[in-house]
Symmetry: C2
Subunit: 180 residues, 2 copies
């Protein structure tokens, strides 16, 4: 088994949390938060590979406000962390709103364990990609930008150079430098 994912679970029902822990025992170790209010106290978001977030409907509000706000707070703390939502109340409106706020997946309770595992694998991969592109050096960024520009101009060096704001010789030099 590969090194397990580190996943932040936010779930106020401890029975459900234990069931999830069991379902994921093969692939992940969880940190469980029973109250989203404790979020700011947990400083090291960068060590998580994904977040699994229960909608946590409060007794007095069925619109999912609590869950949606938690998405906002998680993303403010670490925009590169992929968030998987988990909810009993599966209104389309809430799913749509969750995605618009930056959730990366949306599952319904009761869940199928294999789907949950797949979703978290995908979320972890997404987090990894986002971290990688956020931590790119200028050199790597430049390389990517040049590759994209060349692709978009399908090989036309002059156009690519213009799009990048370079003179043509400058683009030649950089292509050479990056080994493209």
């Amino acid at each position: 088994m590969k090194t397990p994912y580190r996943i932040l679970l936010i779930e106020n029902d401890t029975a459900v949390a234990q069931a999830i822990r069991l379902a994921l025992r093969e692939i992940a170790e969880l940190d469980i938060l029973t109250d989203p209010a404790e979020l700011h106290a947990s400083p090291s978001f960068h060590s998580y590979d994904a977040a699994l977030l229960d909608m946590n409907f409060q007794p007095d509000q069925r619109d999912g406000r609590a869950g949606l706000e938690t998405i906002d707070r998680l993303r403010a703390a670490d925009p590169s962390l992929a968030i998987v939502m988990l909810t009993v109340f599966g209104g389309v409106a809430i799913a749509v709103e969750a995605f618009k706020r930056g959730a990366s997946d949306f599952l319904l309770k009761p869940w199928r364990n294999d789907r949950l595992v797949d979703a978290l694998r995908a979320a972890a991969a997404l987090t990894k990609r986002q971290r990688a592109s956020a931590a790119m050096s200028l050199e790597e960024m430049e390389r990517h930008a040049i590759e994209r520009a060349l692709a978009r101009a399908d090989g036309n060096i002059s156009h690519a150079a213009a799009a990048l704001g370079l003179t043509r010789p400058a683009l030649y030099r950089r292509i050479e430098k990056h080994g493209l």
Copy 2:
């Protein structure tokens, strides 16, 4: 009135298409495609500000496959074009899948005109942002990257420089050059 949005509507029911045209007459001019198969024939996606895509359930399949595939094809043709989905059959699973494939919004029929207008405004704004960041010159990219790195290191120049793969004096010079 500002210059209207140019919107690509894909809708096989011409009556619905006319109703949408009417609803949007104040803010947008539409090109209507009744069959997604004609997509490749329409070369100038860059002139659209958003796409509005009916799920177009075929009589023999209720899973929305046709609509989802159309998302893929639109995004392959122009990844920066924001796509608003419109559907009668509002299963959560389909909404989730649409977002995962890159749709930017998801509305249910029957629609409220004001919501439709809002959604398309937002989609057009998103398209604009994506186009802008796709067309950035290397200079602008560098500037953005430096701003982000400085923010993430909250002001610590040495750390920001290391994250960007620069020496500290080099970062000083670039900060100076970009006027930050």
